[in-house]
């Protein structure tokens, strides 16, 4: 009897499990595009639903704007678009699994800071030259030739470059109200900034002076300072992400290894970061903090954060004012505005790729072309005109009700169609316009080069694991510099050397072929 009972239970569990399984299988949205369906709109095209995977989240007006997008798309291309948004924290892992498992995705966001090069070299993405020629005239026109030339991988276009500038805008956002309360003059230099931070620590208990980003190497404090030091000319090689352990310096075509060089200027930044941490300027939770830097700032928890913008977005101030009624942010720009002083490889930070396994590559390109036409670009970026936003002249816009946009840098951002916000102050505009001009930059010798990690992938894997132990701790000051740099070196030197040698070999071959 007992046996029978347990068998029944077991059977019930099996049945339940298989039911659940069937449920999962059924939800896998199969393609709706049955041939010969009664096509509305463009009669020559079969109806297709494109699946697009991008980072970020849905805005407040997402559903409304999305239905407008799909309405117009239906009429123009007999196409529907289904966006999947992935949180930045999960982006790497989820997109990896999606691609590798061959999930039904047509367009996917990727980036050199994510895994563009390795995914492209593993053959996950379609080469776009043919599709661009056939369907992508607007995609091509809206981007200058330098951009196309510089963003190839081994001579192939594996993604449409997305960007409206030749370097990333960046600033440290600080609290204007606090600075004035503390009686400090406007912050112009890094020294001024430190004076502000120390004043906040001493006279404003309850707010942490500074937090940088420990989950993203680019936002680590030392990386942040190095980028704005145009005299130093140091930049990451991207062989191991944005890590500065291997870097280029100036335009000599050499790969430097921070273990060997201990580059004096970088070293002094590392010491500075350590000092900020031990002086309790840098948040003591910089390594473990779970909220984003911007959230912390608008919630009045920190007084300074590194941000990828030259000016304060309206929404930041709005959110801050809900917590501190007279609070206001201002941007400290340490970027050097001397023409020619900054290098650019014209490499864009973000890309949209057509997945090789997609069954609708033609349509995916047609959709991208659609998205790169002015009306549609505005709709995707700002929402419905007259409702969410209003055009001011040809290249500016005014917000009517906040956040109408669906996507921007994830899908179609380009220098030709991007509008500036009407409330952007002159100073910010000056910086924004500066970085949108290719001629303001000196061309990096490495323009067009991409590293193929295959020959040293064991070392890249090993070094990545080792680096994760030390890098962010050191580059945000949370670890003792002498002690932990020595440990880092002892563990990481051997694999890094091999990566450096291989990278140098590929760089030499690239430069030899070019000259």
């Amino acid at each position: 009897m007992v046996k029978f009972k347990s068998l029944t239970t077991a059977a019930a569990i099996f049945v339940l499990a298989s039911l659940m399984l069937a449920g999962c299988g059924g939800s896998d949205g199969n393609d709706a595009g049955a041939a010969g369906a009664n096509a509305k709109g463009n009669a020559s095209l079969a109806p297709v639903t494109l699946k697009v995977v991008v980072p970020g989240g849905k805005g407040a007006h997402f559903d409304e704007v999305m239905s407008e997008v799909n309405k117009r798309l239906k009429a123009d291309l007999n196409t529907q678009v289904d966006f999947t948004f992935i949180d930045f924290a999960d982006l790497n892992q989820k997109t990896n699994v999606m691609l590798a498992s061959g999930e039904n995705v047509d367009l996917i966001f990727d980036a050199p800071w994510l895994h563009l090069d390795s995914m492209a070299s593993q053959g996950f993405y379609e080469e776009l030259t043919g599709l661009l020629d056939q369907y992508g005239s607007h995609v091509k026109e809206t981007r200058p030739q330098q951009m196309w030339d510089a963003n190839k991988i081994d001579g192939n276009i594996f993604g449409v470059p997305l960007g409206s500038a030749y370097t990333q805008p960046r600033a440290v956002f600080i609290r204007k109200d606090l600075r004035e309360k503390l009686g400090l003059p406007p912050v112009r230099t890094y020294e001024d900034l430190q004076a502000y931070l120390y004043a906040v620590r001493d006279r404003e208990p309850g707010i942490v002076p500074l937090i940088a980003g420990a989950d993203d190497v680019t936002y680590s404090w030392v990386n942040w300072l190095v980028r704005d030091d145009s005299g130093l000319g140091v930049r990451p090689t991207n062989a191991i992400g944005a890590s500065l352990m291997l870097y280029y310096k100036g335009i000599d075509g050499k790969v430097y290894n921070l273990f060997d060089t201990q580059e004096p200027k970088i070293w002094s930044y590392l010491e500075n970061a350590r000092k900020l941490f031990t002086d309790k300027i840098m948040s003591q939770d910089v390594m473990t903090n779970k909220s984003s830097q911007s959230d912390m700032q608008v919630q009045n928890k920190v007084a300074a954060t590194p941000q990828m913008a030259f000016g304060i977005p309206q929404s930041f101030n709005d959110r801050l004012k809900q917590v501190v009624p007279d609070g206001e942010l201002e941007a400290v720009r340490l970027f050097d505005l001397t023409p020619g002083s900054n290098l650019s490889n014209y490499k864009m930070d973000n890309f949209i790729c057509i997945v090789k396994a997609s069954k609708h590559k033609d349509r995916a390109m047609m959709f991208l072309d659609w998205a790169n036409q002015k009306d549609h670009y505005d709709l995707l970026e700002h929402g419905i005109e007259g409702k969410n936003w209003k055009a001011v002249g040809d290249d500016r816009y005014e917000t009517l009700n906040n956040d109408g946009g669906i996507v921007s840098f994830q899908l179609m951002l380009n220098p030709s169609l991007e509008r500036n916000w009407v409330g952007t102050d002159e100073e910010t505009l000056k910086y924004n316009r500066f970085i949108a001009q290719a001629d303001n930059f000196t061309k990096d010798v490495m323009t067009g080069f991409t590293f193929d990690p295959t020959p040293v992938k064991n070392e890249v894997a090993q070094f990545s694991a080792i680096q994760a132990k030390y890098y962010n701790g050191l580059f945000n000051g949370a670890l003792d510099l002498e002690d932990y740099f020595a440990k880092f070196k002892a563990e990481g030197e051997a694999p890094l050397k091999k990566i450096q040698n291989e990278l140098q070999k590929q760089v030499d071959a690239f430069l030899a072929k070019r000259s």
């Binding site: 059977a11 996950f124 191991i240 890249v460």
Partner: protein, 304 residues
């Protein structure tokens, strides 16, 4: 053979109900075994499994030639061993005590309360531990300061984390396991207890000499299942709680978090398959060994 056919005929409905489950097992547990082949290939999705070239043992190199493979393997073993032992111990305690409670509503309430944490995701648990232990305004440091002690940099103190992780794990899973054990206890024949009471055995004596020995098979099976996964670090847990905080890696880094960090940029399938193969082979060895030990001590309780 004839008996088997007869058995099939008589219980055909029951067997029919088992079919989906068996199919499930074959599709999701047996067929994927063939996927271990990826560990020996230079897998490229564009070329497929068979089109990709063989790589010999190359995919294992990054792990076994690093100096971290021993420490992370030991961490995985050690943490999981702690989890298995303490979870089981606490689950047993909870189950036995729950069984002794005679007030039904009280028993039900306690049962739900200890079961509840099982449904909380590791990400949320990660936030909760952060709120407890962080430096700027952590609850624990607040409490320490209030009673006049010094605040501790918990997230900079590696040695405490195996203890914290074990506590979190007990809090999260012991209740769940105790329900399984409680079900087993409920199935025990009341005859034993009756005759024990007639002989004047106390409650404690009944627990020690009747409940515990009769629960042995269940305990052994639960432990065996745990041992089978002893080489798999709980990625969701460790990454949710420790995250990218390298200072804590010496005591908390397990095989899964290590390979995640190593491969997150490369996204190399073959290399991750190699790690998984290593984990399953070691897990198999652990199960067989543990079963061997059980066979020595108590042949009736062994699994196979």
């Amino acid at each position: 053979m004839k008996r088997l056919a007869k058995d099939f005929a008589r219980n055909r409905h029951l067997y029919a109900m088992a079919v989906p489950g068996i199919v499930f097992l074959v599709v999701f547990s047996y067929i994927p075994l063939a996927g271990h082949i990826l560990a020996f290939k230079n897998f490229q999705i564009g070329r497929g499994i068979w089109g990709s070239e063989w790589a010999g043992l190359n995919n294992f190199r990054f792990f076994f030639s690093s100096r971290d493979w021993m420490p992370v393997t030991l961490n995985t073993l050690y943490l999981n061993a702690m989890f298995i032992v303490f979870e089981m111990a606490f689950a047993l305690l909870i189950a036995i005590f729950l069984n002794e409670i005679r007030l039904r509503w009280f028993k039900r309430t306690i049962q739900s309360v200890v079961f509840l944490p099982y449904f909380i995701s590791w990400i949320v648990v990660g936030y909760m531990t952060f709120i407890l232990f962080n430096n700027s305004d952590g609850l624990l440091n607040h409490a320490l300061l209030r009673v006049g002690l010094r605040a501790v940099d918990w997230y900079q103190t590696p040695w405490v984390w195996p203890i914290i992780l074990t506590l979190v794990r007990i809090w999260k899973s012991a209740g769940y396991l105790s329900i399984i054990l409680l079900a087993a206890i409920a199935g025990l024949s009341t005859d034993y207890y009756e005759s024990a009471r007639l002989d004047g055995a106390s409650r404690l004596q009944q627990m020690r000499h009747i409940t515990l020995p009769l629960l042995k098979p269940q305990i052994i099976i639960l432990v065996l299942l745990g041992v089978g996964r002893i080489f798999y670090g709980d990625f969701g847990m460790i990454y949710g709680i420790v995250g990218d905080n390298g200072i804590l890696f010496p005591t908390t880094d397990v095989i899964d978090t290590y390979s995640y960090r190593a491969l997150r940029q490369l996204g190399d399938f073959s290399m991750s398959s190699a790690i998984v193969l290593y984990q399953s082979v070691m897990g198999l060895i652990a199960v067989v060994a543990f079963n061997g030990i059980v066979r020595r001590i108590d042949p009736d309780s062994r699994l196979f």
